[in-house]
């Protein structure tokens, strides 16, 4: 096998010597290496995204009076996964007396994170205020399942019990 291979390989013509000189070949190869270096690495078209640094950091601290409802509303739209931001917006609505907006916002938070006990409590409190004791009780019970034995939730539950 090896002998026949050797015979065949020896009968093939030698490398033709024509073509550019070695120096030109080297220049061409170096140029190609340089071109590759320039063109790589390639960049994947990225997600440009709508979120901003300000919105992503807004809920790092509790909202203060300087943060307007408008800013919070805009940020909630561009960073919908930040439930803290939404909860903050709900709180601001509640403080402004916009109970319906607060209730809607708290419900949105709980759709994403039903284990958020504080928001369950806040929603239950709003619901008690508008006389929806039965639903308030459900939220308080859910909060109690997340924070068992917590005294303030037990007191809230007592408030939801029909007199």
């Amino acid at each position: 096998m090896s002998a026949s291979y050797n015979r065949r390989i020896l009968s093939t013509p030698l490398t033709p010597t024509s073509g550019p000189s070695p120096r030109i070949r080297i220049a061409a190869i170096v140029a190609l290496l340089g071109l590759s270096w320039l063109l790589f690495p390639v960049r994947i078209p990225g997600d440009t995204g709508a979120s901003t640094d300000e919105c992503l950091r807004l809920a790092d601290h509790p909202p203060n009076a300087a943060v307007s409802i408008v800013v919070l509303e805009q940020c909630v739209k561009v960073v919908p996964a930040d439930v803290e931001l939404q909860a903050d917006l709900g709180d601001v609505y509640a403080r402004a007396g916009r109970d319906a907006d607060a209730e809607r916002t708290y419900r949105q938070v709980l759709d994403i994170d039903p284990d958020y006990a504080d928001v369950q409590i806040k929603l239950a409190t709003l619901l008690i205020r508008r006389g929806a004791g039965a639903e308030a009780r459900q939220h308080a019970e859910r909060a109690l399942s997340v924070q068992p034995n917590r005294q303030s939730i037990r007191e809230l539950l007592a408030d939801t019990t029909p007199q």
């Binding site: 050797n6 093939t12 063109l39 690495p41 440009t48 996964a81 994170d113 068992p148």
Partner: protein
């Protein structure tokens, strides 16, 4: 086989054996050289074959020495070529004598770093010396031949193109038979990309080898020059691979990694060249062909090598699939397979008529490959809808579908807004390079010499290595194989949002004991930061332990009972430990001190589930059967233990904590293990706590709060009635508080998480619901939202998200550095 061929085969086998022994000793030396790798792998004897090799090193060394002398017999017999005789005789004398020096290898652990830095490179000296003798005996190939030995362009081009196609087809076949179900569109798209990147790798090889050929053509002995340049390139490839891929995974710094890789690259390239110069130069061979083609025979021999390479690579890939270091091993296999394929195709195309050197044949393949990669990305803007067809998803899958293509993509494709400055700052941080001399932090969760606690319940802490929360019924209703844990968890406190700060045992375990974030140099200061040990000692507990991470660093005078000491760390068994614990409990008298038990069994560690899977793993649809079957057994043992302590009344006055040090990847998206990963499956952990009967309604908690393993120790202190200071977020805090209080909220804090090995960092924000990952080993970044059970959902890595998270990671790194830096 002729006598010459047999002698040749025996010679190659002998040299290979000597090389293997020396490189294994060197590898062990390198592992001990890195304090991190030594503490992580060697000290706990995580790999029994390595421990066996070291224990028997004297036998291996003298066997290698004797075999090397046999291969040198011709040189030792002939005194006519005096330099050669002298070199061989010196080898015999030096390495006979230096054997004593090298026999220090088993004792490396006890030596200073300076001594180690002498011995480690010394392990490579014998093979370098043998290689020098080989070159002295045979000279360089082609040096006495008329033929210039330069490789024709068309032979090189065809060999590179066919090597790429061959490797692509081989990996496609493996993926088709073994890969996870992706759907045909995703699979076809990934394969298309893999082909382009395989071609790109070999276009690079073609360019570099063409450069060697062209340069050789300017020299009088072109064949020798081409040969030498090829060997040098092999050495450079080995150095680069180790420097960039392997050593960073062991937390070696840049300078150390370069020096270590340089030694290995030079020694292995030399020994390889030694074997090649002793082989006869075949007709019409060239410098490149002679350096890379190792097989006998012509095209048929090359075909046999190709088939063998593909089969062995497929088998090797299957074997390493379930090993913790799979990604590195896959790359090694792919590179070895690529080298063999290139050598074989060079031999095959040596027998074909060659064309003159043509500029078109040089330029077109390279430009076409560049255009194909750019074209793929441009065309990707037209992709719509299916996330699995997005370029980022495909690039992510490439290493799993085709390791060589994945390797190419790692260097040829970058993510949007790749921030080199950020990566460099993180890599240079002291959290990446193990701190050699960390300071003891000023803040402490416990004071030395505490007054006895007001309450001393029995405490059982079970940290099951690599236990995934979504393999437990309390966290995943689809699980049916952990009924005992499920029933137990329903009666007690199941923390739904628990994490480890570290993706591996080595850092995770001390973080539990200290109750705080740790640095990679923690081993040097553990006695000073070991809060849990101080508590156990000062409270006078009957201390029972089975663990291999911290046990060697407990204070010598801490009284302890080490359970099942005859079982090596990797074989520790929860069932056996629980039986021994029960026996220990049964022996105690009525007035004995309460028990503090700490067990860290490795039943479901990937070293056991991946390699020693039981033959009949059973049927666990949707779960990894070798893991689930072992877990089912653990569940039964745990259930039996609970029944026993219930019956004896011990349970009524006991705290029981069931958790794990980290999770694991069990083939999720084709990934295995936890070595460099911070995906949700790796860093989310189960945490279930049983309190003494009298305390269950006397405390409150937040089961959805972001919780860490660092909270376990402060919780035990608080439940024992000890005051626990409210420290910063680098320290844990009690999980339980009085019903009229609230556990400390963590919704607005950021927490850095990191892999135990290598440089993968992450950030948890918003009560742990938002996870960002910076994988600096693979230059990849990921985002997840963790609202949906069991493992959350991937999210887009937007520029603003990247900026904010990178800044927070750097800030958290600075805090850790400040905490442990010696002023």
């Amino acid at each position: 086989m002729t006598g010459v061929a047999a002698r040749r085969a025996a010679f190659v086998a002998g040299r290979s054996f000597v090389t293997l022994v020396c490189v294994a000793a060197w590898s062990y030396g390198v592992t001990t050289y890195s304090p991190f790798a030594f503490d992580m792998f060697v000290r706990p004897q995580l790999f029994p074959p390595l421990s066996q090799f070291v224990a028997w090193f004297h036998v291996w060394y003298w066997a290698a020495y004797a075999i090397s002398l046999l291969t040198l017999l011709p040189e030792l017999r002939s005194e006519r070529r005096k330099p050669l005789f002298a070199a061989a005789a010196t080898y015999a004398a030096v390495f006979g004598g230096i054997g004593v020096y090298l026999l220090a290898v088993p004792y490396l652990a006890t030596l200073t770093t300076g001594s180690r830095s002498l011995i480690v490179p010394g392990a490579l000296l014998p093979i370098a010396w043998l290689a020098a003798i080989d070159h002295l005996a045979c000279g360089l190939p082609f040096s006495r031949q008329q033929d210039d030995g330069a490789t024709p362009q068309s032979q090189l081009l065809m060999a590179c193109v066919w090597s790429a196609i061959f490797l692509w087809a081989a990996h496609l076949l493996i993926a088709l038979t073994a890969g996870p179900t992706l759907g045909w569109a995703a699979r076809a798209t990934t394969s298309g990309w893999a082909l382009v990147f395989d071609l790109a790798i070999f276009a690079g090889v073609y360019l570099v080898l063409s450069f060697a050929t062209a340069l050789a053509a300017t020299q009088p002995h072109g064949g020798s020059t081409e040969y030498l340049m090829t060997i040098a390139m092999v050495a450079i490839a080995i150095v680069e691979f180790w420097r960039r891929v392997v050593l960073p995974a062991f937390s070696f710094g840049t300078a150390d990694a370069f020096a270590i890789a340089l030694g290995l690259g030079a020694a292995t390239a030399l020994i390889w060249s030694g074997l090649r110069v002793r082989a006869a130069v075949r007709p019409r061979a060239t410098g490149i062909t002679h350096a890379l083609s190792i097989h006998p025979g012509g095209s048929i021999g090359a075909g046999v090598v190709l088939c063998l390479a593909a089969t062995l690579a497929a088998l090797g890939s299957r074997i390493v699939d379930s090993i913790d270091w799979a990604s590195i091993l896959h790359s090694v296999i792919a590179i070895a397979e690529g080298g063999l394929a290139l050598g074989a195709f060079l031999r095959i195309f040596a027998g074909r008529a060659q064309r003159p050197w043509s500029p078109a044949a040089m330029i077109v393949p390279v430009i076409a490959t560049i255009a194909a990669i750019h074209g793929l990305l441009l065309a990707s803007t037209a992709w719509t809808g299916d996330a699995r067809l997005e370029p980022k998803a495909i690039v992510e899958r490439l290493p799993l579908a085709d390791p060589l293509a994945g390797f190419a993509a790692r260097y040829l494709v970058e993510q949007p807004s790749f921030d080199l400055d950020y990566f460099q700052r993180v890599l240079a941080s002291e959290t990446t390079q193990a701190m050699q001399d960390p300071a003891v932090p000023k803040a402490s969760l416990i004071a030395r010499g505490i007054t006895p606690p007001s309450s001393r319940p029995n405490i059982f802490v079970f940290v099951i290595d690599s236990l995934r929360r979504d393999y437990l019924s309390p966290y995943n209703p689809a699980v049916s194989f952990t009924p005992a844990i499920d029933a137990w968890a329903r009666q007690h406190f199941t923390f739904r949002n628990a994490f480890t700060l570290y993706g591996g045992t080595w850092l995770s375990m001390p973080s539990i004991w200290s109750g705080s974030a740790v640095t990679r140099g923690w081993g040097r200061i553990l006695p000073e930061i070991n809060t849990l040990e101080t508590f156990i000692r000062d409270a006078g507990y009957d201390f029972v332990i089975n663990d291999f991470t911290v046990v060697d660093r407990l204070r010598p005078d801490t009284k302890r009972t080490f359970l099942d000491p005859e079982i090596p760390s990797v074989k520790t068994d929860f069932c056996r430990n629980l039986e021994s614990l029960q026996a220990h409990l049964a022996k105690r008298g009525v007035n004995s001190a309460p028990v503090f038990a700490f067990l860290a069994p490795m039943n479901v560690h990937i070293l056991n589930t991946g390699i020693n899977s039981p033959a009949s793993a059973g049927d666990y649809p949707g779960f990894y059967a070798p893991y689930a079957s072992r877990l089912q057994r653990l569940d039964a043992c745990f259930g039996a233990f609970l029944r026993a302590i219930d019956k004896s009344g011990v349970a009524d006055d006991s705290i029981i904590v069931l958790t794990s040090d980290h999770g694991d990847l069990l083939g999720d998206d084709g990934r295995w293990g936890h070595q460099f990963y911070l995906f949700p499956q790796t860093i989310r952990v189960p945490l279930i706590v049983q309190l003494p009967k009298a305390r269950r309604t006397a405390v409150t908690t937040d089961l959805a709060r972001l919780t860490f393993l660092t909270d376990v120790t402060p919780t035990l202190l608080a439940l024992s009635g000890l005051p626990v200071p409210d420290l910063d977020t680098l320290h844990g805090s009690p999980l339980f508080v009085a019903p009229d209080r609230e556990p400390r909220a963590r919704r607005r804090d950021s927490f850095k998480v990191m892999s135990s090995y290598g440089s993968t960092y992450g950030l948890l924000r918003r009560n742990g619901r938002l996870l960002y990952i910076s994988d600096l080993l693979n230059w990849r970044e990921y985002a997840f939202t963790l609202f949906k059970e069991p493992v959350g959902e991937a999210a887009a890595v937007e520029p603003a998200l990247r900026r904010v998270n990178q800044a927070e990671i750097l800030s958290e790194i600075s805090r850790i550095e400040a905490m442990y830096r010696r002023n």
